[in-house]
């Protein structure tokens, strides 16, 4: 356990908390997907880099490299698949001006 491992594991924990909070508070599927896919990808990548610092040079490093490479390929593609599914099935993106306009109309009534 050295300094680099501690720094990267701490970064992973921080991004993981923020990804969970973002998924819970954001208003529509696209913004939730932003929080989940991006913050969680960064957090998992940080965990992997921290694990590489821990295991050092050896047979586990090769497998960690393979897993990191595979995760780097599949994670954006699965996020893109979900986003494309939502876009094709007609989920309307949330917009800031819509929410404010609706709020103003309700105040006019």
């Amino acid at each position: 356990m050295n300094v680099g491992a501690a720094v990267f594991l701490g970064l992973g924990v921080l991004f993981s908390i923020m990804g969970n909070v973002g998924v819970l508070v954001f208003p529509d599927p696209y913004t939730r997907l932003q929080a989940s896919s991006t913050c969680t990808t960064t957090s998992v990548l940080s965990f992997f880099i921290g694990c590489m610092f821990i295991v050092g040079w050896g047979p586990m490093l090769g497998r960690l490299l393979v897993i990191t490479l595979f995760f780097f390929v599949t994670s954006p593609i699965s996020a893109h698949i979900i986003a494309r599914f939502a876009w094709k099935s007609g989920v309307v993106p949330w917009r800031k001006s819509f929410a404010m306009k609706r709020h103003a109309e309700r105040r006019d009534d």
Binding site: S16, V23, P29, R32, V44, I54, I67, S78, I82, R84
Partner: protein, 85 residues
């Protein structure tokens, strides 16, 4: 320290199951499942590093492949039935 990170990841997976349960649309539930899959992958890698067994990393790789294929299959299945959601 690694043991505390593992406990935190288990808690985090439980919290992200909330979006799978309450999600209003199918896309929301799939986002939750994707999140759970990614964090479970990190959990498996952390467990195998803390136990220093390199054979457990194979399990993590196969789990990664099956999580990806699962998301793919779910989108193919649900995009065929647009009116029923």
């Amino acid at each position: 320290m690694l043991a505390w990170v593992i406990r935190f990841m288990v808690l985090s997976i439980v919290v992200s199951m909330v979006r799978v349960v309450i999600g209003p649309t199918v896309a929301d539930r799939m986002i939750g499942l994707n999140l759970v899959a990614a964090q479970t992958l990190a959990l498996l890698v952390l467990i195998s590093v803390s136990m220093e067994r390199s054979i457990y990393l194979d399990v993590a790789l196969v789990y990664d492949i099956f999580g990806f294929v699962g998301i793919l299959v779910m989108t193919r299945y649900f995009s065929g039935k647009k009116g029923e959601l």
